[in-house]
């Protein structure tokens, strides 16, 4: 075992507002030229009556170093992907984001999205090529948008497209149902619901881990607007009948949207279009390597068939004889789901990553991710207390395992194990989306970033914690012990008299003095 103890930085850092020292300044605003001051006069006189701020905002007064040190300490108390081993954070594809791409992305820092198109030709070319060349080949789709700024936003975008499609065809009042599966990402249910659809959710068969095709046939009807589905689902099980599924939905008059948030192990292997999908989306902050950024900015890159291209949000990047422009004149467009062109810097990074890979590299990404998953499985299923639910042997990119047996035998559950892994310098893992159909779940995703040693390290740490659960369960249940903070008191979080989303609310509710 190569498991090492770890101690997270422990700064016991105050809340930033407690660091205020009267009179200190973090940065100085430049002086306004005398000529301007004279020409304009008192700036407050330019503000209409009743609109002047009377009490200054109670922001902290801090010297620059004090601010820097505080936030540096907070960063140290964050176990970022680049410092640890994020194999456990499944469904999130915690891959390496090359540093050169960060540098390249800074070239967009001072670009305004409304600049004349002739000053944006390079970035428009990248948007166009990353969509129509790269994602076109990866997915088989015809037209693309990068406006949705995250995976859920892409699912919502696709729900809006579906709504518009049926509206234009005069069938919206009739077609108000979306079919999804319980192991598809929660956004595949929540986003169509926000767009006003009713949801029909299919549950898996205990053996196959997938809903039966009969269940789908019973679910479709003249009310079916479409299907939102992940494949492979969070279980890592690839639905081998997916093309029949899309046919059944099409025959009922619905459209099919493929949630490919993490498509890592499928690049160059199988394509959305070939399985009969009308729309798909890729999370560029997952499969295509843009950093996760403490949860964004990301991008849900949407691809659609020619038939649905007219519904894409505006603007769409088009190319005419080597000149790129933004097309706003699309009468059937859903309009906008986000301002401007979306998170363009994310697309730039993904383009650079995909260029560094090429077709062979992308295929290698897929193969290695898949093989890594098989290898980790072998290590994990050999452990006491760990089971792999459903009777499907080979899983693609990740597996939802269960610690139900561990819990029964030791009282130690998956939350405890996740917390204990932190004590070994490993990020607490992702358990499962809700509901927890698999009891005491965990879902590692060992993508291509991780070496064999990393896989062994993660498995060794996991094995150590499982042993601890049998030998000294209280040690695990009371974890973490070497993290940046102690066990939280959870009760106030859901109590209106206790919760505090701001420092000012905390001060008021706890009766503290500012």
């Amino acid at each position: 075992m190569r498991v090492k103890d770890y101690q997270a930085p422990y700064w016991k850092e105050p809340i930033v507002l407690e660091l205020s020292r009267e009179g200190e300044r973090g940065i100085v605003v430049p002086e306004v030229d005398e000529e301007i001051r004279e020409a304009v006069g008192d700036p407050w006189s330019k503000i209409p009556d009743g609109m002047r701020r009377e009490r200054p905002p109670a922001l902290p007064e801090m010297s620059q170093f004090r601010v820097l040190r505080h936030f540096l300490r907070l960063s140290q108390q964050t176990l970022g992907m680049e410092l640890g081993n994020d194999i456990g954070v499944g469904t999130c594809t915690m891959k390496y984001s090359p540093k050169v791409n960060e540098e390249l992305a800074t070239k967009l820092a001072d670009v305004h999205p409304l600049q004349p198109e002739e000053t944006l030709q390079g970035i428009l070319e990248i948007l166009y090529k990353f969509g129509n060349v790269f994602l076109g080949e990866v997915s088989g789709m015809d037209a693309f948008t990068f406006q949705p700024p995250g995976g859920s936003a892409a699912a919502y975008n696709n729900a809006c497209i579906m709504r518009k499609y049926h509206e234009v065809n005069g069938q919206l009042e009739q077609r108000n149902e979306i079919i999804t599966t319980i192991f598809s990402h929660p956004c595949d249910a929540a986003c169509p619901a926000t767009a006003g659809f009713n949801l029909v959710t299919l549950y898996p068969d205990e053996e196959t881990g997938l809903p039966s095709i009969e269940a789908l046939k019973e679910a479709v009807s003249e009310r079916t607007a479409g299907m939102f589905i992940t494949n492979p689902e969070d279980t890592g099980i690839f639905n081998p009948e997916i093309d029949e599924w899309t046919s059944i939905v099409h025959e009922a008059g619905g459209l099919c949207s493929y949630d490919q948030a993490n498509a890592n192990a499928l690049l160059g292997i199988t394509r959305a279009r070939d399985a009969g999908f009308d729309m798909c989306f890729f999370n560029l902050h997952k499969t295509f390597s843009s950093p996760h950024g403490s949860s964004g900015p990301g991008c849900g890159a949407v691809g659609v068939t020619e038939e649905l291209a007219e519904f894409l949000p505006v603007p769409v990047v088009v190319e005419e004889e080597g000149v790129y422009r933004l097309d706003y004149d699309r009468p059937n467009s859903i309009g906008r789901v986000r301002d401007f062109m979306g998170n363009v810097q994310v697309v730039l990074r993904s383009y650079a990553w995909a260029m560094s890979m090429g077709a062979g590299g992308l295929r290698e990404v897929a193969e290695v991710s898949m093989i890594n998953n098989q290898y980790l499985e072998k290590r994990l299923t050999a452990l006491r207390g760990v089971t792999k639910p459903f009777g499907v042997e080979r899983r693609v990119d990740q597996i939802r395992y269960s610690l139900e047996r561990l819990k029964e035998e030791t009282g130690v559950g998956t939350n405890d194990v996740a917390n204990r892994m932190i004590d070994y310098g490993v990020q607490s893992y992702f358990k499962s989306h809700h509901p927890w159909l698999v009891p005491e779940p965990f879902t590692p995703e060992p993508c291509e970033t991780y070496s064999k040693e990393d896989l062994d390290h993660w498995a060794d740490v996991f094995a150590r914690v499982v042993d601890e659960a049998y030998e000294s369960p209280e040690l695990v249940r009371s974890a973490p012990h070497r993290s940046s903070g102690s066990k939280i008191v959870a009760e106030p979080l859901n109590d209106p008299d206790g919760w505090a989303m701001t420092w000012r609310a905390y001060v008021r509710k706890r009766g503290l003095r500012r």
Partner: protein, 468 residues
Amino acid sequence: MKEGEFVHPYIPNSVPAVKEEMLREVGARDAEELYAKMIPERLRLRRPMELPDALPSELDLRRHVEGILEGDGNCADYLSFLGGGCWQHYVPAVCDVIAGRSEFLTAYAGGVYSDLGRYQAVFEFQSLIGELLDMEVSGIPTYDWGAAAGNAVRMASRITGQREVVVPRTMSPARLSIISNFCDSVERQGRIKVRTVGFDPDTGMMDTGDLEEKVSDETACVYFENPSYLGAIEAQGNEISSLAHDHGAEVVVGVDPISLGVLAPPGDYGADIVCGEAQPLGIHMHAGGGSCGFIASRDDERYVGEYPLRLISVTETEEEGEYGFGQCRYERTSYIARENAKDWVGTTVGLWAIASAVYMSLMGPHGMRELGEHIIQKSNFAAKRLTEIWEVRVLFPGFFKEFVVNLDEKKKTVSEVNEALLGHRIFGGKDISGEFPELGNSSLYCVTEVHSKGDVDRLASALEEVLE
């Protein structure tokens, strides 16, 4: 390395010997044998993808990408007066250092112990924006102002049980489009009807007579902005709020928070829910990729229970003097409730929340006040200089950093003028003649602390030349 073998620097297990060893461990000859057990043959792509040749060399890649971007302009090379929802402000170096920290840049979904610092930084964003807005509740921000406004409108609709929203004609058409998508629904009875209120042509403020006609007992909320998309400060906040509240409607105000060192926070004139765009607070424009939409409200269960956002609450720990953090009423969110959630939430803009927390900490109350004063002086000076040009008019007098410049008396259209200004390496104001035909031949100019007096003079003389 043997010929045909491929080892990529981003894929450690692409080393052939390692890959072979792992395949041996899992009992497979090659990847194909494994895929064959997962994915039926008919769904397989049986050819190599056709893509441009790979550039695995970092140097080659850098040259390639830099080569594509070489001809592009930006607001450092050009003198820009573009705004309209994305604005050029100064970003202090410390903001970039913190946003660039490996830990924050590459964290994602870690727990409250391993990512304690991330949770605290986001809680501090909520706390600091709360001070600026004078509100007690905020959450992890969402994608942009439009998404924040869309969520806020839907919150108001759920709170009141009503299905109409009143919005000002002066708002950004792009933002309105985002809100309209949020308000649309499959079934007619589920739709939130969007009603638009006109504006006073002299002031750019809301036409309150028209508002009175549009507000009714069916109104879920009245939404307005400060400053508006067209730049004017809406000074009738109290009147608008009273009208809305008299009908049982909520008041939702969208703000540019960089104005709040000098402008009254929306709660002072009746706002129940505040939303807006935090990009000016320490986030670069990133070609539109710097957007960061926030929502805030009073600390009332009726509001808290309707947020779609993740709300980070501070709490105590078992150790005296330590802070811990956690999710408040997480079961509201789509991660738990799926189709029964309050709208939906996902990966949004965590990094920008952190950058903007740093910005607000650096600026403090005095910095925000001084910056507000500074911007008002500069923008008013610029407007004054432009109106000294013969027959150029600035339409609405009470503005903060953006103002409408009208060229109706000139022979050239805004687009012709902007094209000519480009020859002077100037990005003229945004052409709004298509969005607001009632304002004629007009454009929206943005002036902030980044503009010097010399910049304004340069614009004025270039415009004079162009308009001659």
